[in-house]
């Protein structure tokens, strides 16, 4: 297993490098210039472009960009977004907010999704199953920002339980509403998948055998049903994690959270395209995505021996060649 992980990490670094180059290229091809200005004279614009090194050949620019990251670890400073504020002073705070709120949303969403999914699977056709189906429809059709406004209107205006805007000082209380609204989509997806998967597993023969062995209730569910149902569920959760950590841009805009979602939209559709910010955020997003996909593959192996052991089995056949195989045939 260790060797597998090392190989994958190397692959990840290579992939990240390719993504950075691709992003570096695409951002420059995109329409919209880094310094939109109605007043700047052409010479001034030319001066700023030269300052940012935009007129050098692409490869040289890319070389400088990578050198800058490797040497000083800084991703440079913005060309237009928040007017040149260095990324190192803006990004960490935004990441902090997005990850903390996204984290709460994921934990709550996935936990409640699993609980509801299991409840629905165990009560097929009854209340919890209907509730799970309705929730999965609602959770998917109502965008998180509509739910956010709903929460803000009723729980921060009509009844002031939560602060109306996000304020950093009392983080926890002001994080509850955005996290709740963001968790709706993940909760309903996970619930739906859990329910469907568990229903399939509960009808399988080995569950029937387990029941005929005398297993029942939570012991049966946790030991046999859930473990087998987890593979597709985990596969659904992984991309949700990435989206939640980076994708809450509208909710961030409404509730006044400066997170990386809002940062990315500002960087592209704000006052002109800010190359350095788009690149920094792009790299952050892909690193996150690759990391979580690596974790996902490792979880696959842990959960499903067929994948883990299949790896060894091939080895086994090579080593023992004929004796074991013959013996097995005789034995069967």
């Amino acid at each position: 297993m260790g060797r597998y992980i090392i190989k994958r990490v190397i692959m990840a670094v290579v992939t990240l490098f390719i993504i950075t180059f691709l992003l570096f290229l695409l951002v420059r091809i995109m329409p919209g210039n880094p310094f939109p200005s109605e007043r700047m004279s052409d010479e001034a614009i030319a001066k700023k472009r030269a300052e940012m090194g935009l007129d050098d050949p692409i490869l040289v620019q890319f070389g400088n960009y990578i050198a800058q990251i490797v040497k000083s670890g800084s991703f440079g400073k913005g060309s237009s977004l928040y007017n040149g504020a260095p990324i190192s002073s803006v990004l960490p705070k935004a990441m902090g907010n997005s990850f903390r709120i996204g984290g709460i949303a994921i934990c709550f969403g996935v936990f409640m999704g699993l609980v509801l999914g299991i409840a629905a699977a165990l009560n097929r056709g009854k209340f919890w199953d209907v509730f799970c189906t309705v929730l999965s429809i609602v959770g998917v059709c109502i965008p998180s920002y509509v739910f956010m406004i709903f929460l803000q209107y009723f729980f921060a205006y009509k009844v002031t339980i939560f602060p109306f805007y996000f304020n950093n000082r009392n983080f926890l209380i002001s994080a509850i509403m955005p996290a709740l609204s963001l968790s709706l989509f993940s909760m309903s997806t996970v619930a739906r998948f859990t329910r469907n998967e568990m229903v399939e597993v509960m009808d399988s023969d080995y569950v029937l055998l387990a029941e005929s062995k005398g297993m029942y209730g939570t012991k049966l569910t946790t030991r046999h049903v859930l473990r087998n149902a987890l593979i597709p569920i985990v596969t659904v959760i992984a991309p949700l994690i990435v989206d939640l950590l980076t994708g809450a841009l509208v909710v961030e805009k409404i509730y006044g959270i400066n997170g990386i979602g809002k940062l990315m939209v500002d960087a592209i559709t704000g006052e002109g395209i800010d190359y350095n910010y788009v690149l920094a955020l792009g790299i952050l997003y892909s690193a996150l995505y690759i990391g979580i996909m690596l974790v996902l593959d490792i979880v696959y192996c842990l959960l499903d021996p067929r994948i883990r052991v299949a790896g060894n089995k091939k080895k086994k056949k090579k080593e023992t060649g004929t004796p074991a195989a013959r013996e097995e045939a005789v034995q069967a």
């Binding site: 097929r124 056709g125 399988s204 023969d205 080995y206 029937l208 055998l209 387990a210 029941e211 005929s212 062995k213 005398g214 297993m215 029942y216 209730g217 012991k219 030991r223 046999h224 473990r227 087998n228 959960l303 499903d304 021996p305 067929r306 052991v309 299949a310 089995k313 013996e327 097995e328 045939a329 034995q331 069967a332």
Partner: protein
């Protein structure tokens, strides 16, 4: 008369499916004496495995028990005998006291009967830890012993392996080991060897017979293969469209069948001497129990059908103490009908063979 371990009295079940209510079991009566082997024979779709799953309390969610009783007599460890109607008990009680402890079951497809994500050892020890209160260490020891008993070589290594690393035959042996792990009184085998090839089939049947002898377990075989029945069963229940149409001991059924459906089954059995090239098959297929059956369900496929068969269902006619069949042909008023020639010749031959085997003994 040894005491009856299991009595199923006019069990009646309907399934609520999206297409409408399916009256799958229409009054089934099966008895099983302690230590004996009963076979329940019938085409697939006749409802035989439904009956047994009901006895085990693992019936599908959409089944509705209309009426009937399943009396199960078992001896507690302290020797006291208990009698309980499975249908009256709640699922939890059955799981705790009956499933795996007093009655266990083996299923048809060994490929999917074992949990793919759990080692063989763990799946084997689960039952024992729960029912017999053994700790992990004792359970492991007993598990190795059981694997050896069911004929698996190098059991210690097998304990740590996963189902997908074993062949079909070995997996079925593991399932059997699991089934007998808590010394049950009754073992229900739902087509245990159908998914296996013939050589392994014989080994598995032989294994079950040996275990039955060693532990005094009574066994119920559910199968559509009369070859298996001939080898293992003491009594045979022939089931068709949710009812028992004929019941009797092995000799009566094989040598003196009374129900046209049993004739059909017996003549459909291939053996070396049949001379006509095409194998005899019972025409048509089992009725779709979505529509209520009027008269004898087998009538549409029965070349000896009488007018009355389409009017009302035949009751069970008693042929001997242990042999009875539900066909109007046994009614005194019915015309005398002999079984097909082909079948008569074959039965004579089988009788001769049986005497030779008996002679050699």
């Amino acid at each position: 008369m040894a005491d009856k371990i299991l009595e199923i009295k006019n069990l009646d079940i309907t399934f609520t499916t999206t297409a409408g209510p399916v009256h799958a079991i229409r009054g089934v009566n099966i008895d099983l004496e302690r230590g004996e082997t009963v076979a329940v024979v019938g085409e697939s779709g006749s409802g035989k495995s439904v009956v047994m799953k009901t006895a085990m309390g693992i019936l599908a969610g959409n089944a509705v028990i209309n009426k009937g009783e399943i009396i199960f007599r078992y001896k507690e460890d302290d020797g006291s005998t208990h009698e309980v109607d499975i249908l009256k008990k709640d699922k939890k009680w059955i799981r705790k006291n009956i499933n795996g402890r007093k009655v266990s079951m083996i299923f048809q497809d060994p490929m999917t009967s074992l949990d793919p994500t759990m080692t063989i050892g763990k799946q084997l020890m689960e039952g024992m830890i729960m029912h017999m209160g053994l700790n992990r260490q004792q359970a492991a020891e007993r598990a190795v012993h059981l694997l050896d008993e069911v004929g698996i070589t190098d059991p210690a290594k097998r304990m740590k392996q996963y189902p997908h690393q074993l062949s079909g035959g070995m997996r079925q042996r593991v399932v059997i080991a699991i089934a007998i792990s808590c010394n049950p009184d009754l073992l229900i085998c739902d087509e245990p060897t159908t998914a296996l090839d013939v050589t392994i089939q014989a080994k598995i049947l032989e294994l079950i017979k040996r275990l039955q002898a060693d532990h005094g377990i009574s066994v119920i075989y559910i199968t559509h293969d009369l070859g298996v029945v001939a080898k293992v069963a003491d009594y045979v229940n022939v089931m068709y469209a949710g009812k028992i149409v004929e019941v009797g001991n092995i000799e009566e059924i094989f040598y003196d069948p009374k129900h046209p459906y049993t004739w059909g089954l017996l003549s459909a059995m291939p053996d070396l001497e049949t001379d006509d090239s095409r194998l005899y098959t019972i025409p048509g297929s089992p009725p779709n129990l979505l529509h209520e059956v009027k008269g004898d369900a087998f009538a549409p496929r029965n070349q000896f059908a009488l007018k009355v068969d389409s009017l009302v269902e035949p009751p069970m006619f008693k042929v001997s103490e242990t042999h009875s069949a539900a066909t109007w042909l046994l009614d005194p008023r019915a015309p005398k009908v002999e079984m097909p020639e082909e079948l008569k010749k074959r039965i004579v031959r089988m009788l001769k063979e049986a005497k030779q085997d008996a002679g050699e003994l």
